[in-house]
Symmetry: C2
Subunit: 689 residues, 2 copies
Amino acid sequence: MSNWIPWACLGVSIVGVAFAAIYSRLVLKEDAGSERMREISKAIQEGALAFILREYRYVGMFIVVMAILLTVAMRKQDGWMMAICFVFGAVLSLSAGFVGLSISTRANARTTEGARSSGVNKALKIAFRSGAVMGLTVVGFGLFGLSICYLVFEVWLGMYNSANIILGFSLGASSVALFARVGGGIFTKAADVGADLVGKVEEGIPEDDPRNPAVIADNVGDNVGDVAGMGADLYESYVASIVAPISIASTGAVYAAKTNGSSLGARGMVLPLAIAGAGILCSVIGSLLVRTKEGGNPQRALTGATYLTAALATLSSFLLVWWILGWQHIGIFWSLFMGVISGISIGLVSEYFTSPTYKPVKEIAKSSLTGAATTIIRGLATGTLSTAFPVVMVAIAMGVAFVTGERVIPGGGGIYGIGLAALGMLSTTGMVVAVDAYGPVADNAGGISEMAHLDPEVREITDGLDSVGNTTAAIGKGFAIGSAALAAIALFAAYAQATGLSAISLVGDYKFIVGIFLGAAVPFLFSGLALNAVGRAAFSVVEEVRRQFKEVAGLREGVEGVRPDYSRCVDITTKTAIYEMILPGAIAVLAPLLVGRLLGAEALGGFLASALATGFILAITMANAGGAWDNAKKYIEGGEFGGKGTPVHAAAVVGDTVGDPMKDTAGPSMNILIKVMTVVALVFVPLFL
Amino acid sequence: MSNWIPWACLGVSIVGVAFAAIYSRLVLKEDAGSERMREISKAIQEGALAFILREYRYVGMFIVVMAILLTVAMRKQDGWMMAICFVFGAVLSLSAGFVGLSISTRANARTTEGARSSGVNKALKIAFRSGAVMGLTVVGFGLFGLSICYLVFEVWLGMYNSANIILGFSLGASSVALFARVGGGIFTKAADVGADLVGKVEEGIPEDDPRNPAVIADNVGDNVGDVAGMGADLYESYVASIVAPISIASTGAVYAAKTNGSSLGARGMVLPLAIAGAGILCSVIGSLLVRTKEGGNPQRALTGATYLTAALATLSSFLLVWWILGWQHIGIFWSLFMGVISGISIGLVSEYFTSPTYKPVKEIAKSSLTGAATTIIRGLATGTLSTAFPVVMVAIAMGVAFVTGERVIPGGGGIYGIGLAALGMLSTTGMVVAVDAYGPVADNAGGISEMAHLDPEVREITDGLDSVGNTTAAIGKGFAIGSAALAAIALFAAYAQATGLSAISLVGDYKFIVGIFLGAAVPFLFSGLALNAVGRAAFSVVEEVRRQFKEVAGLREGVEGVRPDYSRCVDITTKTAIYEMILPGAIAVLAPLLVGRLLGAEALGGFLASALATGFILAITMANAGGAWDNAKKYIEGGEFGGKGTPVHAAAVVGDTVGDPMKDTAGPSMNILIKVMTVVALVFVPLFL
């Protein structure tokens, strides 16, 4: 069965991609609305295309350099094969991002038109189907690539180090994700903050007003950050969570374990592929179930389908463990199950800390009564306090996954269990990305209705869909963080196995502790760079917008026929965002290489472990503080403490603006950072021993 | 020599205390000024006394509980002896805080009067001598207690586990420091923020205006936070840095090492005592050298004397290592020297990031042009970026100290070297505390001159002294953070030795990594609680001040004879601060006990290592972000970007207010947190094995 399951997975991945193609057909055959709407949508498309092509050029150069490095530095470990997998993984990620972006930037006007012509159900359908294209492409491409790599290097060539070679694929995914998340994150927030600072604050014009020269850049940002960036992020987590248990199972205790008298062998390696394949089928089923009646609750439609997908995926994982590993190893299912549980509970806790229905957000809103300073202090405190439960949850998941795994297969089953925990959480990635990528489409649709001066009723419908999108985005963010942590832990476990970190001494050697110190600093450094990057990029947008308002006659007054130069804003944001992503990106790749080469594999182990812990905690702090500020502002806008236009509201707006780059740039970047560093370490292990 | 050196140290400690007594005599014999000034000073004294007595009552209860716990839980390890040391260490800390506070609250009016009657030189002398009382009391009491413990348990009783028993002393110091730093930190910032929010913002009256009901509480805060709290903090670091190498040298390779044919034995244990003793003498000399001519530069007088003290202490450490350990072990001096170097360089980097002469602060000021939000983002980014160098520096210091130590005495000299690195940094504690405790006295003196309506010239002199105090405080903060990290690392090294953490496996067991995850979260949780505590306590001050302005007729108008009820504000702040310190304090003590008992010594090792790294980094982030915001505001007040009263200034004020609890409450608390947790772990080691 170890040979035909990968073939089956290849087939399933093609089914996933086929559904993505069907959904995109269904989206594209919808009407894109009036001339004006098409025009706006086109401008967003062109902006997003310009950004992504420029980004891909830089990423492409990075890929070439890295492929050469792999080939040369790892020449004794068949580095050229690794390099092939690497390029394959990277190109598939770039293509998935391109597909998702192409559809989301075309679905926006169609969603607006759907809302205008038929109402909420139609609009939801279009926006969600567009998200599903991204979701199914991500998982389809991911599993497609991994199945091919597995079939070529393990089944066909029978390479002794096939699992290591396949790691190259994961490295490719990580590298693209790093730049897509960081570059996209800087773009989206620079455009958003820049547009707001001049538009809302200085000129006093509403959000999405077509007079604002940065309005198209803002809408482009939603697509490149929240669709392409998020997709690349989860593609990477998904791939890593499949690769890590494959790598662990390729040698050692899991490979040697006996089942029904014969040894487990490669069966431990195909199980992750099989679970991922089942997850794709479950996601397809889930995506078919998203529908709501006119007047129904779109929130319920989306979360209901998500939970159902998770339940189906968990059930099928149980059956697959039973069938592939045999009943005497069924205990390891509990490792996997712990991953699902911790993922869901981290999402729910995020909701508690960021939803206006609970105490934390209300308290932040109340603290705005005494000004912006107390709003900020309270929000920061809320962010840090919100980390306690998720950390304990991950610690418990890690502990339980390890102990149950170790009980089933002593001497190596524990870290295999940790690998499966991450996979358990990520098997429903297709559905999660679909729900997540739906948000920015609804957001864009609202912007287009505003810019095309449509009936306010249309905006109301899209706003309703958008607010659902905000909630699902918050849960999705919790999911992305939790799954990133588990995937990184799984990769770390593979690293510990590969380097044989089984006799670390803190008395006879101090490198491990030195590594812990250095590792804890990297997420801080990276966050600082990302925050500064947004600040600088936003500043350049502000200057351009101010210039246009000053120099373009009639723009402020909204004279008929006078249009701002949207593309210049897109262009400036693109250039700055891409320039600013280089340094943090380089740090993420180079830091583990430097630590590993200079201080050795043991120090690198400490480095990775503490970078992982700190990155995870910083990610949650920033995501929840940002989300809480955002909703505290909305809570006040809903009429509490005086509502819009009061000093209380102004204080809350400061909180929201501070939170923006934290929750949408620096925070999500942590997810990639911790995985990139671990994957780099794992791939280049032979250089550190 | 192992027997008489402790006696000599006892003598030296008494010399230090004698100088403290002389300085306090000299301060007290100065004129305390007019009736009004005495009255104000008296109010501050009474407020500080009320706070400290209430705080000591709670700390006293904690000490009793802890002493019983030590006696019972450690009954097989002579816990009752440990409990005696514990109470001794705690009582000496409480007494040192009491002495320092008694003098600083009496020196304030005398400094004002000195400035009024004779000018800057006289005022500097009084303020600095008051600081020197705190400084020399801290080190004198510390070494006095440790020498007695050593003489009783090691020399006289010859206990086999004398080093463990003496650890009780360090635990006592830590426990008091925890509550003094956290409680004092909450008090000082709650009063400060509360006074400013109503006084400056709502009522538009200047700082230190006697009409503000919270003005006395604000001045009390300077004393309980920056004198007593800071003193307890450094007392604790000082004691820990002596105890850690004693503990390491009491067994293992260092004890068994040969020098000139005979084994080193207890000589490795008396070396730390001797170095501390020499440090006291150097501090006394340094304190005698602080003088400036009329028109001279008080900044130069203070930093010059500090550097000279450090140079003298380093030289005498070299001679002591040579003399006590012998020339063949002189290499270990370099471990010690690395501590001095890293301490100074961390201080200098703090200066770069927080001084208005350099780019970071100017950039923050510039970002205020686009409002409070960009000010905050920029400041947070600056804080996180400022951690990179100190982390690398501590990592290098750790590495070098370990390698040189290990080269001299293989198999245990490395961690002894790390212990000595912390001691190298802390041997000049007396002088550092003196310089640090001088600041709040100068600050208070300014407040008194304002409240007593003295000539503006007097305020100018005290403001000059105060601004010097701000710079020294920033360097002192860097020193406190760096020394705390090294002391905690030294304690951690002792922990690693005591638990024999020499074969940690990351493949066969996962508890270590679980520990790393949990440990990284504690500093975040603790910071969040501290920030929230300040927010809540400040809110209660605001409410009381508002009430008085509303209810007390004639207060706002400043009618002759109408005085606000100062003591009520002090009382409210006291109650809230003490109430709010309980939960974070309990977490710091209980978390390591819980992790150790539930997950074992290995997990606790991971827990401590990552808590240490994260706490250190958070401390620097918060200290430098806060300092940078503070000075960005001052930079703008100096006339840049429009100066006072502009929206730019208002944005900078928001930054300053956010930074206040970060740099003065949560940040400094990290120093204690990491040491308390490590000391608790070290003392209770037998429970975890």
